[in-house]
């Protein structure tokens, strides 16, 4: 496949967001008729790369070159989706870019007609769309409003949108994330058909199984870098899993400790969420004092439901839940705070602090009813301030002062503030959900140190993370979450990350090992 002249070349693409290097000098070549999978964990830089290709972002360095039809390559104008479309590049975004108040056909023709045209019907457009539907097998009601369509149907409209423009390159960003397995199978068949007709397809995914099923070639990204590229036919499942999650093992600084009494027990707990991402099925979990239980999993496999359950924000629909050895009477966040549950939320800006309130107010906000913080029903600002000053000093929170609004703080400092708030209460159970995501190395190390210190003081910790290095370094035991089910993997010393990677993809413990 690769002997054909390329239709697209990415040349040294580099993109930074503040201190984060999202793409580091990435090279990729695409030939007509091949399906290339872009594989990597969340945050590896896959979507950023494709957003640069499609012109949503502008690269800090590097260029996109497309075949110009005369046998050569020419540079694509950066930062312009219009130019990308004109060059024959189409993209199916993970979050669909469809106007929901328009019909499928209207979304398809949007932007293809001269904007100032007054007359002229849609007859030709309709005929062309109908022909494309026939040829590709993507059947959908073109006259239904998008908000009446299922997610799978919306995706078909998205693909038709690109095909309608006669694209040469089709990028699909996590296309199966929203599909049922049957719908995903249907999509793969369509992609094979389109590739056979000469379309070059880029398929972004973090799911190993489907990448192996559909692609001809696999490019693996990790932490913004391309760490490997291989022919799918010659690829070894294990080797790719290793490549994707990385081999560097951070030295474990965990001291051996004897676990104490159970602080959290889940026994066959079901949570019926709005969708699969927010559901749990028969989840059982034991967390004892003085241990860290790491929850490994690809995002969207029920972590949100588990976190909401442990924070007291959601009640189980079935099964038993015990806190500190006692059945939970009230599933409400205040009762949980009073029972000694500390919450380090996933989205620290949105769920962790109130940006408009001061650092001091944010320190006190979760237990403002506690004795020290109020006096005859009035807030004791002096006490709050002194607590905040201590937090700023002890946790090295870099901020203008206790009265500064929390939104001025960087992500790492917000995280330190949250840690100061919850750890100073001397909690019995800590829920740390993606506690180091997006943080720089220094702040990550600080968060790790604090969690380990809390463990030594006697807290039980549930660490939900997509970072296997972090899980292997901190956890006493690793539990894998997949499709809302929890599976015990064991202590990290007895595990290798390939096994965990396979379990994250839905394989059983024995199957993976």
């Amino acid at each position: 496949m690769t002997d054909r002249p390329p239709v697209l070349v990415l040349d040294g693409i580099t993109k930074r967001f503040g201190p984060l290097v999202a793409n580091d000098c990435i090279e990729l070549t695409l030939a007509p008729g091949e399906i290339v999978a872009l594989l990597g964990e969340n945050g590896a830089g896959k979507t950023t790369l494709m957003n640069i290709l499609f012109g949503h972002y502008t690269a800090d360095a590097g260029r996109v070159r497309v075949a110009d039809g005369a046998g050569g390559l020419s540079d694509l104008e950066p930062g312009s989706p219009g130019a990308a479309l004109a060059a024959g590049i189409g993209m199916v975004h993970q979050h669909f870019t469809l106007a929901e108040n328009l019909t499928g056909l209207e979304n398809i023709v949007l932007g293809t007609e001269p904007v100032l045209r007054v007359w002229g019907g849609r007859a030709e457009a309709r005929a062309k769309a109908a022909r494309l539907m026939r040829e590709s097998g993507l059947e959908v009601d073109l006259d239904a409003r998008i908000d009446q369509l299922t997610v799978g149907e919306r995706q078909r409209v998205e693909i038709l949108k690109a095909l309608y423009r006669d694209v040469r390159v089709l990028v699909l960003d996590e296309p199966t994330a929203v599909l049922t397995p049957q719908e995903a199978e249907g999509l793969f068949a369509v992609l094979r058909l389109l590739a056979a007709k000469g379309l070059a397809v880029v398929f972004i995914s973090h799911k190993l199984g489907e990448v192996l099923a559909v692609s001809h070639r696999i490019a693996v990204l990790r932490a913004g870098r391309k760490v490997g590229e291989l022919e799918t036919a010659k690829a070894d499942r294990r080797a790719i899993a290793d490549l994707m999650v990385g081999r560097e093992v951070a030295a474990s600084r965990r001291s051996p400790l004897e676990p104490g009494a159970p602080v959290l027990e889940l026994d066959g707990v079901d949570v019926a969420g709005k969708d699969a991402r927010r559901s749990l099925h028969g989840a059982s979990l034991l967390v004892r004092a003085r241990e860290i239980v790491g929850i490994a999993g690809v995002s969207g496999n029920g972590q949100a439901a588990l976190a909401a359950l442990i924070a007291g924000l959601a009640a189980p629909d079935g099964g038993r839940m015990r806190l500190n050895g006692r059945p939970v009477a009230r599933h409400d966040s205040r009762a949980f705070v009073e029972a000694g549950v500390a919450r380090v939320p996933e989205d620290r800006h949105h769920d962790g602090v109130v940006g408009a309130m001061s650092v001091a107010e944010n320190v006190a906000i979760e237990d403002i009813r506690a004795k020290g913080f109020q006096h005859w029903g009035f807030i004791d600002f002096a006490a709050i301030r002194s607590r905040a000053e201590a937090a700023i000093r002890d946790y090295d929170v870099r901020c203008p002062g206790p009265d500064a609004p929390a939104r001025l703080l960087s992500g790492g400092n917000i995280q330190k503030l949250i840690l100061a708030r919850v750890l100073e209460r001397d909690p019995r159970l800590i829920l740390a959900n993606q506690p180091t995501r997006g943080l720089d190395v220094g702040a990550q190390a600080e968060v790790h140190r604090r969690l380990l210190a809390a463990r030594e003081r006697g807290a039980g910790v549930v660490l939900i993370s997509e970072d296997l290095d972090e899980l292997f370094a901190l956890s006493d035991r690793i539990v894998v979450i997949h499709a809302g089910r929890l599976a015990e993997a064991g202590p990290p010393e007895a595990l290798d990350r390939g096994t965990v990677g396979l379990m994250m993809a839905g394989h059983g413990r024995e199957d993976a090992a």
Binding site: F54, S80, H93
Partner: protein
């Protein structure tokens, strides 16, 4: 019985249409802005600016249609201010809109006072005259209600059709409806979100200003302080009532006009028993009631009030 007889008079219906006219312009303008995703609370000030600018152009010697064009241009200018603040700069649409209202009305009064420092009674112009269309104007009932109005009223009715046609039958309208629902859909198809939104706000503001011009050049023949008197705000409410559809916008404006015409006549019938303020409240109360009944099902432009920035994460 006399109260219901009001509804049967030609006079009442003609007055309803006349009162509805500025509202038709205003609702159409607000609808165009909001369909693109931008709430334009500058409407009250833009009405005032249109009323003042149109009137002043005619007073200074221009003909009436030039006056209307001047009013629309003045409205477009204030719309441009609102558009720049809210679209590329992404500032709060509420704050910017209120600011434009304060700026536009104050500036209008200031210019009026500066140009005419000494007058005590507002100078008059020769306003639009009712049209006389052969056959149509002579029809019974329909004739006096619809075809003996001034040209601006007829223009308002025509514009309802034009706006509906542009929104639902042209690629431009398609893009405007899309950008108000999901800007990413427009961006991903290679169109400019900012250009579409700014264009819609400027055009919509021009329409609003024509509503103001109707007041000084058709309904009355002079410019008074406070003459817009909340009409702009009512248009914002009527836009919700209309579910952002031009046809329903016409209906809403006519409904308001009918309420207003009705209360004036009601005052003369039963005014002895109730203070006049109660009647003045009536159209607003009824508008609110109608709004509550309809707005529950309103199909909001989903991206309204949400600024859009390219390449945001």
């Amino acid at each position: 019985m006399e109260v219901l007889d009001i509804l049967l008079t030609v006079n009442f219906w003609a007055a309803s249409v006349r009162i509805a006219t500025p509202m038709i312009f205003g609702v159409l303008g607000a609808l165009v802005c909001e369909r693109a995703g931008v709430l334009n609370l500058g409407i009250e000030g833009i009405f005032t600016a249109g009323a003042m600018a149109g009137w002043m152009a005619v007073w200074a010697g221009a003909d009436l249609w030039t006056g209307v064009a001047v009013a629309a241009a003045a409205g477009g200018l204030f719309g441009l201010i609102h558009a720049i603040l809210t679209v590329p700069l992404g500032l709060s649409q509420h704050v910017s809109g209120i600011g434009v209202t304060l700026l536009a009305s104050s500036l209008s009064y200031f210019i009026y006072r500066t140009a005419l420092p000494d007058v005590t009674t507002p100078p008059r112009i020769a306003p639009f005259r009712p049209v006389d269309i052969p056959v149509l104007s002579d029809l019974p009932f329909i004739g006096p209600v619809l075809f003996q109005q001034t040209p601006l009223t007829l223009l308002a009715f025509v514009l309802v059709g034009v706006v509906a046609f542009v929104l639902y039958r042209t690629p431009l309208g398609l893009a405007i409806r899309a950008v108000g629902d999901n800007p990413a859909s427009v961006e991903a198809q290679g169109l400019s979100v900012h250009a579409l939104r700014m264009g819609a706000v400027v055009a919509g503001s021009g329409l609003m200003a024509m509503g103001g011009a109707f007041l000084t050049m058709s309904a009355f023949d002079a410019f008074f302080f406070g003459m817009v008197n909340g009409r702009g705000w009512i248009c914002i409410a009527l836009t919700v009532f209309a579910s952002w559809r031009p046809g329903k916008a016409l209906l809403g404006a006519l409904l308001f006009g009918a309420f207003d015409a009705f209360q004036v006549r009601l005052q003369t019938e039963v005014g002895a028993f109730l203070p006049s303020q109660v009647f003045l409240m009536l159209p607003y109360l009824l508008s609110i009631a109608a709004l509550v009944a309809v707005a529950r099902k309103a199909d909001y432009p989903r991206a309204m009030l949400t600024p859009w920035f390219k390449g945001q994460r």
